[in-house]
């Protein structure tokens, strides 16, 4: 049972800046959601619970209650129940596989009455907490090997379940823990391998495996010539060469069999393989038009045409950044960038200063999650990344994501205070 910590008052040194950034982003989110639903003839009452903006007000209210509760409970409880929370969310996610409702091709929602709950959102914060706890406990040096396996498993299990729900976007979010691992000593060579793998993946998909194989072979021959006197390195090169070739074919195989046709099309679009402005990349094109037409100062609040006339899909959720870009222009998008930048840098800075490693692990974990959400979401709206449906934290419409991100942030604020 959570015990209220009577000595901890709300005013006692919680990081006010983070709370301010949070409130600002949530406010921007709400007015933007209102704008996307706004109809110019005046029939847009503020309270209409059939409308997303009124529902969002409900989510904001309950989130603030949730945040207050988190700030009032004993921070030990958060740490104590980390695994329990992780397992609970995992069970919910597995439950979704059987009783879940399908929305936009992803079976990741539990319908309760008129509301839908997306356990995946909560899984992110749960994983961050569990990961922090696990890393703190497994710190004894003689068990390092097992620690790495455990960390890997903590991530892999939810990723597998999410993939089973056909929610590739959320699965991608779990890669964010690489930032935490890097901070905590993941070898740079491993990261380099990841980057090489990413390059090979892109080349394979953008062109075809022949190009990748040619590239690998060229590099391999180069190294073989450079290392021709060092027998040991020649062995290593041959192994890397073979692994690379296997990797390329695996990517090709995964792409052909592991993705839905619409996902493949999106990937093709971003890689420039198809150019059909009225077909596959319609959404991306419209999204860019909406943001691009905003200019320096935007068209003015409630005056966006592209978002209001529904040229942009999912404009209150995944594509909400379009509405901001269109109505507030470059100026508005920079404000949002600054708020996110400040939030993320603040979390990183506070984490770095923390003496308690648990809090640092947790801080880096959630900073990574925010970073991935932010860059993937914005990147897809401006055409830097393929369209991957994940929300913009605190701004996108949706109860599950707002609650989960609120929990994520306020757990940190609470933990940081101790």
């Amino acid at each position: 049972m959570p015990k209220l910590d009577s000595r901890n008052k709300l005013s006692k040194g919680f990081d006010v800046r983070l709370i301010c950034y949070y409130l600002a982003l949530v406010f921007i989110g709400w007015i933007t959601i209102y704008s996307t639903c706004y109809i110019p003839d005046g029939s847009t009452p503020i309270f209409d619970f059939g409308q997303p903006y009124s529902k969002q007000m409900l989510w904001i209210g309950t989130s603030i209650v949730l945040a207050t509760v988190i700030l009032l409970i004993d921070s030990g409880i958060i740490q104590h129940y980390a695994y329990f929370f992780y397992l609970f969310c995992l069970l919910l996610m597995i439950l979704v596989l059987f009783i879940g409702a399908e929305i936009n091709g992803a079976k990741s929602w539990i319908k309760i009455g008129g509301f839908s709950l997306q356990p995946t959102e909560f899984m992110k914060v749960a994983t961050a907490l569990a990961m922090a706890k696990f890393m703190q406990e497994g710190k004894t040096a003689n068990e390092r090997r097992h620690v790495w396996i455990g960390q890997f498993a903590l991530i892999l299990i939810p990723v597998v379940v999410v993939m089973l729900q056909h929610d590739a976007g959320s699965a991608l979010v779990f890669t964010s823990f690489i930032i935490l691992f890097y901070r905590e000593g993941l070898s740079a060579e491993f990261l380099l391998l990841c980057i090489i793998a990413a390059i090979l993946t892109i080349v394979t998909l953008a062109f075809n495996e022949t190009y990748s194989l040619a590239l690998i072979t060229a590099v391999f021959i180069g190294f073989m010539i450079a290392n021709r006197t060092q027998k040991k390195k020649i062995h290593r090169n041959v192994i890397i060469y073979i692994v690379s070739i296997v990797f390329v074919f695996s990517v090709e195989f995964l792409y052909e069999h592991g993705f839905e046709p619409h996902q493949k099309q999106r990937i093709d679009t971003i890689l420039g393989k198809t150019s059909d402005p009225l077909g596959a990349d319609f959404n991306l094109n419209q999204s860019k038009i909406a943001i691009g037409s905003g200019g320096l100062f935007g068209k003015g609040y409630l005056k966006g045409t592209q978002t209001k006339l529904k040229f942009v899909p999912e404009q209150s959720t995944d594509f909400i950044f379009c509405a901001i870009g269109e109505e507030w222009g470059f100026f508005g998008t920079i404000v949002v960038f600054s708020l996110y930048g400040a939030l993320i840098f603040r979390i990183l800075k506070l984490s770095e200063k923390q003496r308690n490693p648990f809090v640092r692990y947790y801080g880096y974990g959630i900073a990574g999650i925010f970073i991935v959400h932010f860059f993937i979401n914005i990147g897809m709206t401006i055409g830097l990344l393929p369209i991957i449906g994940i929300p913009l934290p605190f701004i996108s419409y949706g109860g599950s994501s707002l609650w989960a991100f609120t929990m994520m942030l306020f757990c940190f604020i609470k933990l940081n205070d101790n």
């Binding site: 003839d41 200019g295 209001k308 920079i334």
Partner: protein
């Protein structure tokens, strides 16, 4: 271990900062540097619609509606907004072949990608309703409301003219027009196009992603209202026009009636004619093709564009000139005997009328009298040095009575008529010709050819005793009392007024005791002249000229029925019935009316 890796904190910060920088630059490029997205956004969401003004109505002189508008719906296409759609469904609804649809799209795309093009005009109300509901399935298409000309009476097609889609030439000449617009192509529709068409309006509407219009752009602040076209009151008397067309049914020819005091054309019948409703809407091309190839040439406006030998009605003009040139006076007598007028071995036949003065010469239409008078005009060496001068002076008189010219008012395509010049005869007869060479023109035969409109105008000169007002068909613009004064100046002939009294007296005798007795209307004194125009291609044309009432002319009527034979048999009763109808608003002589209506002359 954490201490070892604390420098990684900075690597993470720098990487993150770089990412933010890349994103900011991308956004700056997208939002600030690249202006194309603004344009694309407008193309996306704002549809500029042209509001076509209602075309002005056309009334007759008594406020009866001759032309008004009916609603029609055009399917428009913006090629840039086109996305794959159910082509078969569209073909089914519109009744088009798939190949046609493809061609139309290609043509529209060639014209402009972003400007709406006409895809199919005048779709039915049912198709309109159906398409309006399913518009979201046909992105790039939209329906535009338009108006179509409608004629409550199937009459006066030649004068009213027709409206059709602009051609490339029209668009080039006047930037007001865009492809798919309509323009008056003939008749009043053409002459008064700038007044009738009004001013187009512009409307910007917001269109959502499903191609549905959701409301005005910017509260409609940038919209421009259309100004409806101005209505026009024609000089035509709708009932008289209809009556004339009924009388001329089954015959070829023309009737022109003018109010002499004003030059207003009361009716202008050209037969055969056609229902103006045939040249409206989608049926137009098909019907137009039929009319063009019809051997009866219904599109041909005989009243203005056909030149006929005027026949004996021309004697009136020659009598006036003879009087003016003092060749004859009211007591001069010429004798008609020996079977006619003899020129060597050639004889212009007549009926041995005996001694005649000008009155009885008109009354009996004596060829001998007018040949002699005409010869004497041209042989008047006291006044004119030679034949050339005399003949040119005669042409001058003729032209002062309105022959040999186009009136250039609001009538479509008038013919000038043909009366050869002195040079023509100089050349033809090698400078050796005299009055007798061309004497047949003295009685309206030979080389002279004039239009029915010119003949009617000559009658107006006689009725007005010396002047005419150029014949025209539009009486008032904008309001029935806002009179069209641009053609109202009087044009005087070179004949003194007193000579008209003389000719009018002769014309009265034509009705009371002469060749035109068949024209008599109880209670109305008339003045008239029969004519029989020799026709080298077949039976003679029947011609009649009428002024009614003789002492206070309200209407002059010239009627010509091709191959009708003697003037007295067909043209005379038709002109008389027209006068009766116009002056009494009813016709008592029902037998005559029926006979004339049922008469068919091929």
């Amino acid at each position: 271990m954490s201490q070892d890796n604390s420098n990684r904190y900075y690597i993470i910060l720098i990487t993150l900062g770089l990412l933010f920088a890349i994103y900011t630059v991308s956004l700056f490029k997208l939002q600030v540097l690249d202006k194309s997205y603004k344009r694309k956004a407008n193309e996306n969401a704002i549809r500029e619609k042209t509001i076509h003004p209602a075309r002005g109505f056309i009334y007759d002189r008594n406020d009866s509606l001759l032309v008004y508008n009916d609603a029609a719906y055009d399917l428009m296409l913006v090629p840039n907004e086109l996305r794959p759609f159910d082509t078969m469904e569209l073909c089914r609804v519109l009744g088009l072949e798939i190949e046609e649809v493809r061609k139309k799209i290609e043509k529209a795309a060639k014209y402009s990608g972003s400007v709406p093009s006409l895809f199919k005009q005048q779709i039915s109300k049912e198709d309109y309703g159906y398409l309006q509901e399913k518009m979201s399935e046909f992105p790039g298409f939209f329906v535009q409301e338009r108006t179509l000309r409608t004629y409550p009476q199937p009459i006066a097609a030649h004068i009213l003219g027709y409206v059709s889609e602009v051609d490339e030439q029209d668009v080039e000449n006047d930037s007001y027009y865009k492809m798919g617009d309509y323009i008056g192509k003939s008749g009043i529709e053409k002459a008064y196009e700038p007044i009738l068409r009004g001013i187009k309006g512009k409307q910007k509407v917001l269109v959502d992603v499903h191609n549905r219009e959701v409301g005005p752009f910017n509260n409609g602040d940038e919209d421009v209202m259309a100004v409806p076209g101005t209505s026009i009151w024609s000089t035509l008397d709708m009932q008289l026009q209809r009556y004339g067309e009924e009388l001329m049914a089954g015959k070829r020819g023309a009737i022109v009636a003018i109010e002499p005091k004003t030059g207003e054309i009361l009716c202008l019948v050209s037969s055969p004619n056609y229902d103006p409703n045939l040249l409206v809407g989608t049926a137009r091309p098909k019907n137009y093709g039929k009319l063009v190839t019809d051997p009866e040439k219904p599109l041909f406006n005989r009243a203005l564009q056909a030149a006929y030998p005027p026949g004996s009605t021309f004697k009136l003009a020659n009598g006036l000139i003879a009087l003016q040139d003092n060749i004859i006076n009211t007591s001069s007598v010429y004798s008609c005997s020996g079977g006619g007028y003899h020129i060597g071995s050639h004889v212009v036949h007549c009926h041995n009328c005996g001694g005649l003065n000008i009155y009885s010469a008109i009354q009996r239409s004596c060829n001998t009298f007018f040949c002699r008078a005409y010869y004497n005009i041209l042989s008047n060496r006291k006044k004119y040095k030679n034949i050339d001068e005399a003949y040119t002076a005669w042409l001058d008189y003729m032209s002062s009575m309105g022959f040999l010219k186009q009136y250039e008012t609001d009538l479509p395509y008038e013919l000038k008529g043909r009366i050869p010049s002195a040079e023509y005869f100089d050349k033809k007869y090698n400078n050796s010709w005299n009055g007798n060479t061309v004497v047949s023109m003295g009685i309206g035969q030979g080389e002279a050819a004039v239009t029915p409109l010119q003949m009617a105008n000559m009658l107006a000169v006689i009725a007005n005793k010396g002047y005419y007002i150029r014949p025209h068909v539009v009486r008032a613009i904008g309001h029935r009392d806002s009179l069209n004064t641009q053609f109202s100046n009087k044009i005087y002939s070179k004949i003194e007024p007193r000579h008209f009294e003389t000719v009018l007296q002769g014309m009265k005798q034509v009705i009371t005791a002469g060749t035109g007795r068949g024209a008599q209307i109880p209670g109305i004194e008339l003045a008239g002249k029969t004519g029989t125009a020799q026709n080298p291609h077949g039976r003679d044309h029947s011609v009649f000229a009428l002024i009614a009432p003789a002492n206070d002319p309200q209407i002059v009527i010239f009627c010509l029925v091709e191959n009708g034979g003697f003037g007295a048999t067909v043209a005379c009763p038709i002109a008389s019935l027209m006068a009766e109808f116009y002056l009494n608003r009813k016709v008592e002589r029902k037998d005559l009316e029926t006979r004339m209506k049922e008469l068919i002359i091929k």
